[in-house]
Symmetry: C2
Subunit: 214 residues, 2 copies
């Protein structure tokens, strides 16, 4: 599959782009917002396209045209205000869903957040972030796309272990970003993840085994 | 009908509560956040209940129990940040929808905003507000409730004229809050507004005629 990665310059996105680049099974097109981000990817032979999540659905669709799957791994980042949370994490995500629908790209993977599905467990300090993720996920679940919503726990920058736990209502825990990227890669073609939403934290099973048992 | 008004202390909400109080056809229960707001209503014989849109769905449902219709006229207000926009205008609205579903209260009227349905026409300065209204409306439209979404134009505090225009894709224009309240009152039992979303601005038709022609 040719995979369109939204949020390629983010911490999970970058690792996913590299995994896809190395993969025999897939190719990748990285969506980036700035020319210098494109140059860095182009230097290592990654196809890029400039587009902006604050732009139109048509703009995102033009960028994704010809791809077979879309991964939404963008985030407004912890340093921005709630206005960007609304514009990127919610509206940007849903515009990407609408672009997929417009193009007939059925496979869609969303990187969400642990507990985004349970209001009562939202951390008070980043409650607006959870609201945005919650509704983006709800709109995707109500779409006709072959979606997968992955809700990782606390994200770490340490190297991945390749061992995860995937399922519903997992205890709050952490996971290296590298293992989230590895899980997205494995989920692309794993039918057990189709039209499913699940929590993801570090665990004791290989990624592919964990996904097959969903 | 007994009508549960969320946002009773807001500028449209207050006028609606008074219209319902005077009505022969309906009774009203005003949801308020603070004790002093309740006292002001109780003094004029309006039933009140204390509840918080930042609280749980169960809390809102407990407040609305026994009512036959719900009007969501709350707004975080122009002076608050985008975090409150997410928590009140989006999540607070959807929690109220979920409370209605939980209680089996089918009739639900949402006060939205002109152009909330058209991303390309969102005013740049209050774009986060439109995002919140847009997704609250989308979730309501996807519910099984007998909803009406009213999208008024620029809100004025001048006295109502009783003359409005209601429909799709109306030109940007203004409307007195009193006429929005009057339209909500008339819409409660007007079947032409059931499962419909429409723009509302000042016009040249009586409110009831304008709604019957939808």
């Amino acid at each position: 599959m040719k995979v369109f990665v939204v949020g390629s310059n983010g911490q999970i996105g970058k690792q996913l782009v590299h995994l896809l680049k190395q993969s025999d099974q897939h190719t990748v097109r990285a969506m980036v917002r700035k020319e210098e981000q494109a140059e860095a990817f182009n230097k290592i032979g990654v196809e890029t396209v400039l587009a902006d999540l604050e732009g139109s659905v048509d703009g995102i669709a033009a960028a994704a045209e010809g791809c077979d799957a879309i991964v939404f791994a963008a985030g407004s980042g912890g340093h921005t205000g709630a206005d960007k949370t609304l514009l990127i994490d919610l509206d940007g995500a849903v515009k990407t869903v609408e672009a997929a629908e417009q193009l007939g790209i059925e496979r869609f993977i969303m990187v969400s957040a642990l507990q985004a599905n349970n209001r009562e467990n939202w951390n008070e300090k980043i409650r607006p972030y959870y609201v945005a993720k919650h509704y983006a996920d709800r709109i995707l679940e109500q779409s006709k796309l072959t979606y997968t919503i992955i809700r990782p726990g606390g994200l770490l920058n340490e190297p991945g272990t390749g061992k995860v736990a995937a399922g519903e209502n997992l205890e709050r825990a952490t996971i290296p970003r590298e293992d989230v990227a590895g899980t997205i890669l494995a989920a692309l073609t794993e039918e057990k993840t189709f039209k499913r939403s699940f929590d993801l934290v570090s665990g004791d099973r290989n990624i592919s085994d964990a996904l097959k048992s969903l």
